[in-house]
Amino acid sequence: MIRLNVNGHVVDVEAENDTTLLTVLRDEVGLVGTRFGCGEGLCGACVVLVDGTPMFSCQTPIWQAAAASEITTIEGISAAGEPHPVQQALLDGQAAQCGFCISGIVMRAVALTSEHPRPTREQVTEALQPHLCRCGSHQRIVDALTRMA
């Protein structure tokens, strides 16, 4: 049994030590908002916050996640169903097409804006370098995150 703190809740899961945090989140905890894109830490779809730091959950073994005091997923950032300002900015900008990459991008942007509440274009672009988008929504995403009040 492994104990995790996910989005402010303590959860106990049955998992081998080398199982990835992504698999545990999606299959054991039941939080499917974090997406599987490549399983190799190369696309960014699975990014979550581990003690506030963006991590590829597909590359994070569960023993390492268990050592953290808090794991935050996309389900954990919208208080009482109200979108997080990052999410609201993306919705206002209609900044997605298929939206499969967007969970990871949202989490990266949450970390960025906690450090830089009004990030510059360069900061947003730099932060999103590890994230892939295939639909060509990049500019809309950067525009939306740069417009955040």
Binding site: T23, R26, A96, C98, I102
Partner: protein, 666 residues
């Protein structure tokens, strides 16, 4: 009394109940077109709301399912608005004619009371009022779920008793399975011929078992692939099917040859499928572009009556054509067959996605032209390529990957050429839109497909427009003319001219570009009958090729959602930048070797140019926007690189290495 024209989709699906039901106080709209990330269901909801005279909040778009809504074939070719909007307007008009209309206090109750068997072809629709939603940028209906991280995608489905499946694909297209373990701890091994897979209750265990299976399986591989560094010669040496487009006298004076490599769909989500075998019915959930053809293909592959198979559409990440969706659905079907009444979710790996999904084919084309007094007087174009369509059922065989690996196989059919009347494939946009005098155009389809190819966004139009529009610039250079003036001198269609002129004006064409940058234009009318699109690219070419700006101008006829249209054009252009400047499927004689994001890199945030989109109003009927920018963007980039460096790159991708090679060749 004159009979109004019946939209073809209504003639094919004449029952009212196929299109419209009422539930939970909402008008439920059923369409056969599916959400691929392009926002089509939002655009069609706008059309339906106006047609019925209802607010958007009273409309619910229902995911397509076989046997329930209208059968509209595949969602492809930028045809969804064209094929569906007239049908929804007809439905709305008939409903308003049969009821008191939206003014009635109990309108939705009256709609609910209508006979679902009402034959829509026998009724005259009430005239459509002024549009309220059409022409407005309505927010996408599906984005809140996606941006808020709610379950929405196929791999998020968690039905009771869910099992997870994986397929161990052969190591290479020509490989045959010799031996594999029959049992592994904690999972069930499923084998049929060279099809090998696993089912288990816990995904982590299934993933671990898959690696054991990979280690312990023995395959015999065969060298079935061409030389990746000699594709043009390989294409030209193959047996081909002649695809005449225009027969005329040949031209010869000036010529150039172009080529493109194989490209991958490279969707951000790997393909997935969910299936459950009940006693009578096989239920399948898929992100297929065509649930009806998929149902028939599954039934054919397994010898089932089609009526026993139900396929329901569930979204996955962006779909740009015939990708692994149908194959993953069939994988799930085969694995679920081993565990009756249990739902099995089967997800591909990233490597499978990049190496087993159908590819966009390598192509080569040669343009020959005669020029007199600065004008083109003759044009000959020959394009050689593997085919662009091997969708399920298209060639009379299932066309499903795993079906080709079964002990009693249904081999994958060579990719075919769709008729020119529906846009063609290899020959799509092969005919230049310009007035060029003597014209001769033909495609040549390589009859074998050693690497499986099928439809990817814009099919042959991407390559043909790249070749034609590159050559237009080469001719402009030879004759000492400005590329835009040269184009305008060869085209009189006012809609074409307006789009080219808009792109020129908005991009600052004619002004001096910043240092080390060059500008280039590309233009086409998609399928020669759809959307007009001109792109001006500004490229910096010093030590690396950096795409700085794209100016996109398009005329797509009546715009349903300006923002949705701009999003499709911008996304298409940016994706084309990625294809054109970075992408190439790599392989050796046995295997595809570009099976990760490191070996098949796509455009990253830091490489995306500034894009502006300008819609040119013409009042013409709506046509799709999703594929219009692919070809023009590629040509604009090649022409901009030529302007910046003085060197013409004719073989894609347009990398730094390609520029160096072109310099060496001159």
């Amino acid at each position: 009394m004159t009979t109004p024209e019946i939209p073809p989709a209504i003639a094919a699906n004449p029952r009212l109940g196929a299109w419209l039901t009422v539930g939970d106080g909402l008008a439920e709209i059923h369409v056969g077109k599916v959400e691929l990330g392009q926002g089509i269901l939002t655009a069609l909801a706008q059309v339906a709301a106006d047609a019925l005279g209802l607010p958007m909040s009273s409309i619910r778009m229902v995911a397509a399912q076989t046997g329930r809504g209208p059968d509209q074939g595949v969602t492809a070719g930028s045809l969804s608005i064209l094929q569906t909007a007239p049908a929804l307007r007809h439905v709305g008009g008939v409903v308003r004619a049969l009821t008191g209309g939206p003014a009635a206090g109990d309108y939705l109750e009256q709609v609910a009371a209508l006979d679902p068997t009402t034959d829509l072809t026998r009724l005259i629709p009430a005239p459509l009022g002024a549009p309220h939603y059409v022409g407005r940028s309505e927010p996408r209906l599906d984005l809140p779920d996606k941006v808020l991280g709610r379950p929405r995608f196929i791999s998020d489905l968690r039905p009771a008793g869910l099992l997870h499946g994986r397929v161990l694909r052969p190591p290479s297209p020509g490989a045959v399975l010799l031996d594999a373990p029959r049992q592994l701890d904690g999972v069930r091994v499923v084998r049929d011929g060279s099809f090998l897979g696993l089912v288990g209750a816990r995904e982590a265990e299934v993933d671990s078992a898959l690696e054991v299976l990979r280690e312990r399986s023995i395959w015999k591989e065969h060298a079935t692939l061409p030389d990746e560094n000699d594709l043009v010669r390989w294409l030209q040496a193959q047996e081909t099917e002649h695809l005449p487009v225009v027969d005329g006298p040949p031209s010869a004076r000036i010529s150039a040859s172009y080529s493109k490599p194989y490209l991958a769909h490279a969707s951000i989500a790997p393909s997935a499928g969910l299936a459950r075998w009940d006693d009578d019915i096989l239920h399948v959930w898929s992100h297929s572009q065509g649930i009806g053809p998929l149902r028939l293909a599954i039934a054919q592959a397994l010898g089932l009556k089609p009526g026993r198979v139900v396929v329901e559409h569930v979204e996955n990440a962006g779909c740009y054509g015939h990708n692994g969706a149908d194959d993953a659905a069939f994988d799930a079907v085969l694995l679920a067959r081993a565990v009756p009444r249990s739902p099995v979710l089967t997800r591909w790996s990233r490597a499978d996605e990049l190496s087993w999904g159908p590819l966009s084919p390598a192509s080569t084309g040669t343009v020959r032209a005669d020029v007199e007094d600065g004008r083109i007087t003759g044009w000959t174009y020959d394009v050689v390529s593997c085919g662009h369509v091997s969708r399920p059922g298209y060639r009379g065989s299932p066309g499903l990957l795993a079906a080709a690996h079964l002990a009693v196989p249904h081999p994958l059919p060579p990719a075919a050429e769709p008729p020119l009347a529906t846009g063609g494939g290899i020959t799509r946009n092969a005919r230049p839109i310009y007035e060029v005098g003597r014209l001769r155009v033909a495609g040549h389809r390589v009859v074998e497909t050693p690497l499986r190819t099928s439809s990817m966004r814009s099919l042959g139009a991407y390559f043909n427009v790249f070749a034609i529009e590159s050559f237009m610039d080469e001719l402009a250079l030879v004759t000492g003319q400005d590329p835009i003036e040269f184009r305008l001198a060869h085209i009189s269609d006012p809609r074409a001219r307006a789009v080219i002129e808009k792109a020129a004006a908005a991009s600052g064409w004619g002004s001096e570009p910043p240092e080390q940058r060059g500008r280039g234009i590309g233009f086409a009318r998609y399928k020669n009958k759809g959307a007009y699109c001109a792109v001006v690219a500004e490229v910096e070419a010093e030590s690396e090729i950096i795409v700085r700006r794209l100016t996109v101008a398009a005329d797509v006829g009546l715009v349903v959602s300006p923002d949705g249209t701009a999003n499709q054009l911008e996304g298409g252009a940016v994706q084309s930048v990625s294809w054109t400047t970075k992408e190439r499927v790599r392989f050796n004689r046995h295997r595809i070797s570009s099976a990760t994001w490191e070996t098949y890199p796509i455009l990253r945030f830091g490489e995306v140019p500034e894009v502006s989109v300008h819609l040119v109003e013409s009042g013409a009927p709506s046509v799709g926007a999703g594929e219009a920018a692919q070809g023009p963007t590629a040509a604009a980039l090649a022409n901009a690189v030529a302007a910046a460096t003085g060197v013409r790159v004719r073989d894609l991708p347009l990398t730094r290495e390609a520029v160096v090679a072109a310099i060496d060749a001159t």
